[in-house]
Every structure is written in structure tokens, then in C-alpha cells.
């Protein structure tokens, strides 16, 4: 009895504790309830309605929006585009980002400065990034095709050719976000104990063996984390599409976010757009659950 009472410090009456929680957490939670969670539920509700343009009001439509979605070829094309862009992009970003992190781990003189430059794209406004790359990709006077031409290489229509446009979009997304992977992996590299590498070298392991058997496995958690983080973000890409290709040519670079936005804001099909956004919310939630589970697994590993 005595010990149990001693565990509650003076002035920490349970009642005070409850009041404190309310005071500390209350405002933020209330704010999120009103301006985040309520809108999310609102969109869920709208997804069962259809906006009647003539009478300018919502009509109940049941699961109609969702069945329309399944029958909409553009929705499926957007799904494929989004999946390709996410899958390809994350793969490129992980490989390049890890390679860059390993390279910067050589700590060459002046590399901190180059690293600073490489991080810059990640901070830029995606709309401006899109505009910038439209200029670089320009088939008539863009620098990229000029250099390719000088080298005697083919000069593709980066944004005009249906079979290439999605690649170009992925390339720009990777230019902007490879540094994100690089920063995470690089930080992890700095945190690794040096003696592991020394031991491996003493054991006579070649550098390639050290890389594949020691370094990469140690980096794996950071890489997986970065990849999942990026995947969830790439999945909802919108701005860069708007800035670079506006979903075209045709529908070849239309992502789910872009198509949902078009439906909601350009075509005033609020219900349909909300249904599509909700499909995205569900997919993102699955991704997030995996991420959280992975993170908590790691925390248990660490302790």
C-alpha cells in the first residue's frame, strides 16, 4: 500500500491528470475533428450521391458511383498509370538514392556542398518543377534533346510520345525525390558502427562482399522505410502531373489523384470524384498499415 501511494508524485491527482489531457490534447483534436476528419466523412457521404447540375443539389445514388468507377476505362488506365509511376519511381529512387548515399559516404572533399545542391529539388514547388522540366524536355529547343542530338543519340518526344510520357513523368518525380531516399540512407550509414566494416575487412571479405553481405543488410530497414514512405507519397501524385503533362498525351499520364481532381473540379462530378478519392484512401490506408506495422516491428527489434 505504502509503495503504491509513493508512486503518485505530489500534485498529480488523477483528476488533474484528466484535466491536463483535455487541456493539452483537446484543441488540436477538436481542430482535426472539424477540419480533417469531418471532411473525410463528408466525402464518404458525397460518394453515395450524384450532383444534379440542373437542380444544383445532391441526389442519392447508392453505390452507383462505385459501379460506374469499375466500368470506367479511364479509371483503370489511371490506376495502371499510378501503379507504374509509383512502382518504377520508387525502384529508381531507392537504387539511385542508396548508390548516392554510399558514394557520399566516401566523404570526399566538397561533397557536403554537392549534397546540399542535390537536396534542393525536394524543397521546390512541384508546379515549378513541372514547368522547369517542360522547358528541358522541349523537342525543338530543349537542352536534353540538344545534347542527345550532339551525341548522335535518338531524340525522343519526352512529353508528346504516349509510350514515353509516363516514363518522363517518373523521371522528373525521381529527380525531385531521390534525395529523400539519399538523406535517409545516408543518415543511417553515419549511425552504423564502424567496427562492423573493419571486422569484415579483417576477415578478408572483398569490398563487394562487404557491401552485399554487411552494409546493405544493415541499411535494409532504412531503405524499406524510405521506399514505403515514398510509395505512399508517389501514389497521390498530383502537382507534378498538373505542371508537367496535365495528364496527357491523351490519358497516358493521368494519375488517380489527377483524374479525381478533374472529375471533381473540372466536370463537377463531386460524387464520382469522392468515390474515386475514397478508393485511394483505402489503398493508402493499407499501405500505411504496412508501414506502421513495419515501424513497430523494428522498434521491438531495437529494444
Amino acid at each position: 500500500m505504502q509503495t503504491a501511494r509513493a508512486e503518485i508524485p505530489i500534485g498529480r491527482h488523477p483528476l488533474h491528470e484528466r484535466r491536463d489531457v483535455l487541456l493539452l490534447v483537446g484543441p488540436a483534436v477538436a481542430y482535426l475533428l472539424v477540419f480533417s476528419i469531418f471532411p473525410l466523412l463528408y466525402s464518404l457521404t458525397i460518394s453515395f450521391f450524384k450532383w444534379d447540375q440542373i437542380r444544383s443539389r445532391f441526389e442519392f445514388y447508392g453505390l452507383g458511383n462505385f459501379t460506374d468507377l469499375v466500368a470506367d476505362p479511364v479509371f483503370w488506365q489511371a490506376t495502371v498509370n499510378t501503379a507504374l509511376m509509383t512502382g518504377l519511381g520508387v525502384t529508381i529512387q531507392v537504387i539511385l538514392g542508396t548508390a548516392l548515399a554510399l558514394f557520399f559516404n566516401l566523404h570526399l572533399r566538397g561533397s557536403w556542398f554537392v549534397r546540399g545542391v542535390l537536396v534542393l529539388p525536394m524543397l521546390l514547388t512541384p508546379i515549378v518543377v513541372g514547368l522547369m522540366w517542360r522547358a528541358l524536355f522541349n523537342p525543338d529547343w530543349g537542352m536534353i534533346n540538344y545534347i542527345l542530338g550532339e551525341l548522335g543519340l535518338p531524340e525522343p518526344l519526352w512529353l508528346g510520345d504516349p509510350s514515353i510520357a509516363l516514363w518522363s513523368l517518373t523521371l522528373v518525380d525521381s529527380w525531385q525525390w531521390t534525395p529523400f531516399v539519399m538523406v535517409i540512407v545516408f543518415a543511417r550509414l553515419q549511425a552504423l558502427p564502424r567496427d562492423v566494416f573493419e571486422a569484415s575487412q579483417v576477415d578478408g571479405a572483398g569490398r563487394l562482399a562487404t557491401l552485399t553481405r554487411v552494409t546493405l543488410p544493415l541499411l535494409a530497414p532504412a531503405i524499406v522505410f524510405a521506399a514505403m514512405f515514398r510509395a505512399i507519397d508517389a501514389f497521390r501524385s498530383f502537382d507534378v502531373v498538373f505542371g508537367l503533362t496535365y495528364g496527357g498525351p491523351g490519358r497516358y499520364t493521368t494519375t488517380l489523384s489527377f483524374y479525381a481532381w478533374e472529375n471533381g473540379f473540372t466536370f463537377q462530378r463531386y460524387g464520382y470524384a469522392s468515390a474515386m478519392a475514397y478508393v485511394m484512401v483505402i489503398v493508402a490506408s493499407i499501405g500505411l498499415t504496412l508501414l506502421v506495422r513495419y515501424a513497430s516491428l523494428r522498434r521491438e527489434d531495437a529494444t
Binding site: 508524485p9 505530489i10 500534485g11 488533474h16 491536463d20 489531457v21 493539452l24 490534447v25 488540436a28 483534436v29 477540419f35 480533417s36 476528419i37 471532411p39 473525410l40 466525402s43 558514394f103 566516401l106 570526399l108 566538397g110 554537392v114 546540399g116 537536396v119 534542393l120 524543397l123 514547388t125 508546379i127 515549378v128 514547368l131 522547369m132 517542360r134 522547358a135 522541349n138 525543338d140 529547343w141 537542352m143 538523406v183 535517409i184 543518415a187 543511417r188 532504412a222 522505410f225 505512399i232 501514389f235 498530383f238 502537382d239 498538373f242 488517380l256 479525381a260 481532381w261 471533381g264 473540379f265 470524384a273 469522392s274 478519392a277 485511394m280 484512401v281 493508402a284 506502421v292 522498434r299
Partner: protein
């Protein structure tokens, strides 16, 4: 020995190549921004710049096309929204880090998941809500949803920083008769300042670049933020004047570039706050 030196030299060559690739897009953009509308079409670009053209491009973008106004708007919206998010988020993060209460874990996960929600899923309701309360096309109309967007990230980053502060400090202060709020104000706030800076930086980056929700909330020229202003170049029905577009690029990149010089080490802290713990 020779092999080793060669390797070193090769590594430096690689570094230079990476640096060139990293810089090139910005340099090309800068060159394009020094050209006339037709001068852009020259390939390879000539490097004889006319100061009058440069001045014309930049004054056109900064003043006539309103990018000074857009930059000021972005600063107002970003600083107010980040300020509110920090004021709301810091106590919340402290409570999540220190106190036990019912539904804590569920709320923590919900808040994290809000950070990953596709903005398009809330864009329509937010537009309708802001119209209903008459805040569309005003600064608060942007600030209110932007706080909601950054609050989860702010809370999440700050929880990480509070977790790093030893609990013994709280307990000592509580035993000395401090209230919880007092502990937060007098003991924790000075210690968690780096976390507040990191959270503010990441909130600011997000808000500065936000586009999807702002696009339909704001329609008057005098209230547009930078991304909304830049989008005006794209949605215009006529072809883009590329010298102007390039100048817009440079004008909007410069503040971010200056900002990045000061926040370099915080960027790393912020990104890894969740990853390496």
C-alpha cells in the same frame, strides 16, 4: 598504390559529374530567364546577355505578373498557418509522449494516417465548408485547411523530440510542485526548441508548395500564393512564353534556395525523425 590513387581520382570525377547534373537544370533555367521570347529558341543558347532584357523579364514577373505579391501572400499564409500548427501541436505532442489516457494509441495512429491522406479526398468538402462559412477567397480560407494539413506532421515530429527528453526532468519538476502545463512551459519548451524548428520547417515546406486545395479556394489575383500564381502560366489558353516561365522558375526558386542554406541540418533531422529512431 597507383590503383588506389586512380580510384580516388575516379571518385572525384564522379563527384564533379554529379555536381554538374545537379546544377545543370538550374543553370539552364537561369540562362533561359535572361532571354527574349524568341531568344529562347536558339540552340545551343548563346551567352551574350542583354541587361535590358534581363531587367525587363524580371520586372515583368516580379511586378507586372504579381510574383512579389504572390511571394508575400505565401509568406503570410505559411507563417500564420505554421504558427497555429505549432501552438496547437506542441502541447498535444507533449501529452502523447508523456501522459497515459484512453484512446491514446488510436489517436496517435489516426493522426499519423491523416498525414498520408490524399488531399484530393478532402478538397471538395473543404471547398464547400469554406464557402458555407464565407471564408473562400480569403487568407483565413487558406490558413484554416493548411493548419489541418500540417498539424498531423507537426505532432508526429514533435512526439519524436519529446520522447528523447528524459522523463526524470518532468518528474522532478512535478515533485517540486509544478503543474503539467508549467512543466511544459518552463522545462520542456526550451529543450524541445530544435523539434519545434524542424516541425516548423517541414510544415512550411508543405504549405509553401500546396496547390491542389488552394487552386479553387482562391480566385482573386491579389490573394494567390506562389504555386497558384505559377499554375496561371499553365492553364492560360495561349502558348507559354518560355523566357517568362523560366524567370518565374528562378524567382520562385531563389527564396527556397536561401531558405535551404539555413535549414540544411534540420532537413536531415526532420526526414530521419521518423526513420532512424
Amino acid at each position: 598504390m597507383i590503383a588506389r590513387r586512380l580510384e580516388r581520382a575516379l571518385a572525384y570525377v564522379t563527384l564533379v559529374i554529379i555536381a554538374i547534373i545537379g546544377f545543370a537544370p538550374f543553370v539552364i533555367l537561369l540562362i533561359l530567364s535572361f532571354k527574349t521570347r524568341l531568344g529562347v529558341l536558339e540552340v545551343p543558347p548563346t551567352l551574350d546577355f542583354d541587361p535590358a532584357v534581363i531587367i525587363k523579364n524580371y520586372s515583368d514577373v516580379i511586378f507586372d505578373r504579381g510574383f512579389l505579391r504572390y511571394t508575400i501572400n505565401s509568406m503570410i499564409v505559411t507563417s500564420v498557418a505554421v504558427g497555429i500548427a505549432i501552438i496547437l501541436g506542441t502541447p498535444t505532442a507533449y501529452a502523447f509522449s508523456r501522459l497515459k489516457f484512453r484512446g491514446r494509441d488510436r489517436w496517435a495512429t489516426t493522426i499519423l494516417s491523416l498525414r498520408f491522406m490524399p488531399p484530393v479526398a478532402v478538397a471538395i468538402p473543404i471547398l464547400l465548408m469554406m464557402r458555407t462559412i464565407g471564408l473562400d477567397n480569403t487568407y483565413p480560407g487558406l490558413i484554416v485547411p493548411y493548419v489541418a494539413f500540417t498539424l498531423p506532421l507537426t505532432i508526429w515530429i514533435l512526439i519524436g523530440f519529446f520522447d528523447e527528453i528524459p522523463r526524470e526532468l518532468d518528474d522532478a519538476a512535478l515533485v517540486d510542485g509544478c503543474t503539467r502545463i508549467g512543466v511544459l512551459r518552463r522545462v520542456m519548451l526550451p529543450l524541445v526548441r530544435p523539434g519545434v524548428i524542424v516541425a516548423a520547417i517541414f510544415g512550411a515546406i508543405f504549405i509553401w508548395n500546396e496547390f491542389l486545395v488552394g487552386l479553387y479556394l482562391i480566385n482573386s489575383q491579389t490573394l494567390k500564393t506562389i504555386p497558384l500564381g505559377a499554375a496561371g502560366l499553365i492553364s492560360a489558353q495561349r502558348p507559354i512564353d518560355w523566357n517568362v516561365a523560366a524567370t518565374v522558375g528562378i524567382v520562385t526558386i531563389i527564396p527556397i534556395f536561401l531558405f535551404s542554406l539555413f535549414i540544411q541540418r534540420y532537413i536531415v533531422r526532420g526526414i530521419t525523425a521518423g526513420a532512424v529512431r
